[in-house]
Every structure is written in C-alpha cells, then in structure tokens.
C-alpha cells in the first residue's frame, strides 16, 4: 500500500484513568500538540483492556491501537498493568505471527506527570502508522469507508 498523502489514520488510544488519561490531560493543559486522529478511550486500568477491544478497533477501521497505562510498579490497583503487560505481549505476538504489521500495536507507560511523553508518543505512533498506510490485513470490508 503506497503512502497516501490524503491518508488520515484512525488511532485508538486506550488510557488508564489514573496515570495515562491524566497524562493526556496534562499534555492538553500544557498545549502540547499531537494529531487529531488520535482518539482516547478511558478505561479504569490498563488491565481492563480486553484483546477483543483491540480487534474490534481494527475491525471497525482503526489503523493503529495503543494502550497507555501507569508505569509498572505504579499501578493504581497495584498489579493491573503487570497483567496487561503479559496479555498485550502475547496478543501482539499472536498478531505478528498471523502476519499483521507489528507496528500497528503498541503499549506505552505514561504517568500522570508525563504530558510531554504522551504527546511525543502519540506523534511518533501516528507517524509510524502514517508510514504503514491503512490497515488492510485486519479490517472488516463491511466497515470500510469509501
């Protein structure tokens, strides 16, 4: 898929309520820009992210999915992100094994103080997805917008 100048990737960012969602708020408070195609969904903890949600996003036309949570060791619920870390590692590995571009999925730990990191992460992720082009391997044609 050639890089399309007009291509505006859809990126879904799942953010845990306590660290990363607050980090995202902070990057707003500091007026740090990142692309508008990043849309945030608030979840209580990174461990709430069901692999089904990731697939659902790809089905419905997301080009990239990123999970942000508290840094390991800092989880509001003590251990949630440790479970999320294992789950996502294995899920991403499975997607990679199926030949889905591994760059389309990412996990990043962003604390409530890391507004700058949040913006930088989203800029970087968005650029990566832009380079990759639209998600064609894990989309549902019935959802494609033509």
């Amino acid at each position: 898929m050639p890089v399309n100048e007009e291509f505006k990737p859809t990126i879904v960012a799942f953010c845990c309520n306590w660290c990363s969602y607050a980090g995202a708020d902070l990057s707003g408070t500091n007026r740090l820009q990142y692309p508008a195609n990043v849309k945030i969904i608030r979840i209580p903890c990174s461990c709430r992210l069901n692999p089904m949600f990731v697939l659902r996003a790809f089905q419905r036309g997301a080009d990239g999915v990123i999970l942000c949570g508290c840094h390991p060791g800092d989880c509001h619920y003590t251990t949630g992100n440790y479970y999320a870390r294992r789950r996502m590692t294995l899920l991403f590995s499975m997607l990679d094994f199926l030949g889905i571009e591994r760059e389309r999925t990412r996990v990043e730990w962003v604390s409530a103080a890391e507004g700058a990191k949040f913006a930088a992460t989203m800029n970087d992720f968005s650029a990566t997805i832009h380079k990759l082009g639209p998600n064609r391997r894990l989309e549902d044609l019935r959802c494609r917008k033509d």
Binding site: R60, D140, C143, K145
Partner: protein
C-alpha cells in the same frame, strides 16, 4: 454422446469459462478438494469428492440480503443482493446432484427463495460419474446411480477421454457452444459396468431405512437410543456444514455505524442457539438437537416429500465427524431397537 480427449481438458475449461464463470473441483493445497473458479493453471483434482459440497454454489454460507440506512428516525431500505452471474459447475458427483432436488423442494416451493432461485437458474450443472467410490459412500441406498448421475450434462472419464452427454436444454445449449467430438456409448457403458461392480461391493449398501415410516414417528422420536447416541456428540456443526442437503440458515444484522447490513448465514441444528427464541431454546440439551437433525432427515422430510429422505449418501459426515457419529450409525441403532 460426445467426447473430448483428456489432454484437451484445459481447452474445454478455457472455452467454458470464456462464456461463464466455471467452477471445478481442484486441490485446495491442504490435502482435500474444493470447487474452485477455473483459471489457467487450475486443474481437476483426483480426489473423489470435495469437502464442501456443490450446495455452496447455490446456497452460499453467507449471503447479503438487504441493507438499512438509518438517519434520525428515518429508515431506508437498500437492495444489496450479490449480482446474479451465470456460471457452470463441473465435476458434481451424483450424490451432490441429487441433493439439488432436495434443496429445490425446500427453497423453490412457496414462498420461493429468490436468492436460491436466481442461482439455480443461472447455474449449469455438469456431473461426473464415479468410478472409484469410497467405503463411506451409500448413495445407492437412496436410489442414486453413481455411474449415471443426473445434471444438465453428465460426464464420464476414463484414462483417455471425457465423455459428455447433455441432459437438459441448458446442457444442450452449452454443448453446442463447445467443440466436442461425437462418439458412441460403448466406452461409457463399459465403464459403467465396471463401476457398478465396485458400487455393488460397498459395505453400507445394505442400510435399511424401512424403520422410519410415517406411522413410526412417535416410536422413533421417543426411542431411548437417542440419549446414548447423542452422548458423545460435541455439538459442532461439521456434519451440517459439509452436508449437501442441510439447508437451515439464520438471519443476522451487522451494524457498521453507518448502515445495517442484513445477511443470512448457515445455521446448524446442532448448535445450542439454533432457533433461539425469546423464552430460550426448545431443544435444551444435545440429545434434542441431535435427534432433530436425524428426525428431520429420516422422518420429517420424507413425511412431507413423498418418502424422499433428506440424505443422499455422500458419506461426508462419516468422514468428517470428529467423533465418528453419523446417520448410518443412527439408522442402524434405531433399527436394532425395532427388531
């Protein structure tokens, strides 16, 4: 009777596909055969039959019905049928061909299923006689002659030639458009004789279905054998989905946020959510679901269709059931019960 050399098969397929979409049974790369759109390089399988039956071409597993567009409180209905294209399916075995009669009885009786009807009208069926049946074949039990199948065109193949006989107008029309040589019946008759010798030896030929008479309905239904027979059934849909005569489907909606797509897809009476209703299901355990499948094929269907069983003896379920439970074992067990 016409013929064409086996070495010319590719030319034949090429000629047919220049007029219409052509499907032939080809190897699927995983040790089995499937009906594949013909293209240069695709060749006929040497497998006896496909895993998925020829039913798929007339009654596909998933089929779009209609779309709805919702805006505010307004709902628009948008046609979303797959475009009707004429096609030819080559290499259909006698059993699968017989299954079309059974499907026709369901889909073409009132109210007519126009989706199926369109495909039937558009499709030309070229059958291929069997010369090397499998131990699981029992089409003979249903009066099907594997050495002389029906269809718009019937074909036989020996080491040198493909023999071709048009049976219907559709078949004649196709035949005329092709470059085939006239020939006599000798080679075919000889092959049929050979084939029938083998067919006569098939181990399941003696399957006796006389126990499933109309008046026995309740006896069969209430047989204590069902519990035992269904005990190890996994409740998967393998038998249903490889069956050329199963015709149940479910209608579902898919909402992509901009429109709702209504489609139908095969369903299996073996599934726990088959014919789910508001109150739940009326076949709560696998025993009832299992019984339903065989009651339908062996009792209900013949009762409503002049004694025609809902089975053509293709043997697919015998081969594919994960636990090797099948219509033959069921029929035998229930017959034992009667004696």
């Amino acid at each position: 009777m016409k013929k064409i050399a086996i070495s010319q098969l590719n030319e034949l397929f090429s000629a047919i596909s220049s007029q219409k979409m052509l499907y032939i049974p080809a190897d699927d790369g995983a040790g089995a055969a499937k009906f594949t759109p013909w293209a240069e390089g695709i060749s006929l399988t040497d497998k006896l039959n496909t895993v998925r039956s020829a039913k798929d071409l007339f009654f596909p597993q998933v089929e779009n019905l209609v779309n709805f567009k919702v805006e505010g409180t307004k709902i628009d209905i948008v046609e979303n049928r797959d475009a009707a294209k004429p096609f030819v399916v080559f290499g259909v075995r006698a059993c699968d061909c017989a299954s079309f009669d059974i499907l026709d009885r369901v889909f073409l009786s009132d109210p007519v299923d126009t989706f199926y009807q369109t495909r039937r009208e558009n499709g030309v069926v070229i059958t291929l006689a069997c010369s090397r049946p499998a131990e699981t074949c029992f089409c003979g039990v249903f009066g099907i002659d594997a050495a002389d199948p029906a269809g718009d065109v019937t074909c036989w193949m020996d080491g040198e030639n493909l023999y071709w006989r048009a049976n219907t107008e559709k078949g004649e029309a196709l035949t005329e458009s092709l470059n085939l040589t006239d020939c006599d019946d000798a080679a075919v008759t000889a092959q049929q004789e050979e084939s029938r010798k083998i067919l006569a030896k098939l181990p399941l030929n003696g399957l006796d279905l006389s126990a499933f008479k109309d008046e026995k309905l309740l006896d069969v239904f209430n047989s204590p054998k069902w519990a035992e027979l269904s005990e190890s059934c996994l409740g998967c849909g393998t038998c249903t989905f490889v069956c050329p005569t199963c015709q149940c489907y479910d209608v579902q909606d898919f909402d992509n946020g901009r429109e709702v797509r209504r489609f139908r897809c095969w369903d299996s009476c073996m599934y726990s959510d088959f014919t789910m209703m508001a109150h739940g299901t009326n076949r709560p355990t696998q025993k009832e679901r299992f019984r339903q499948r065989f009651m339908h094929k062996l009792v209900y269907f013949p009762n409503n269709n002049e004694g025609i069983f809902g089975c053509v003896g293709c043997g697919r379920c015998l081969k594919k059931c994960p636990i090797h439970m099948n219509i033959v074992k069921v029929a035998k067990a229930l017959k034992e019960e009667k004696v």
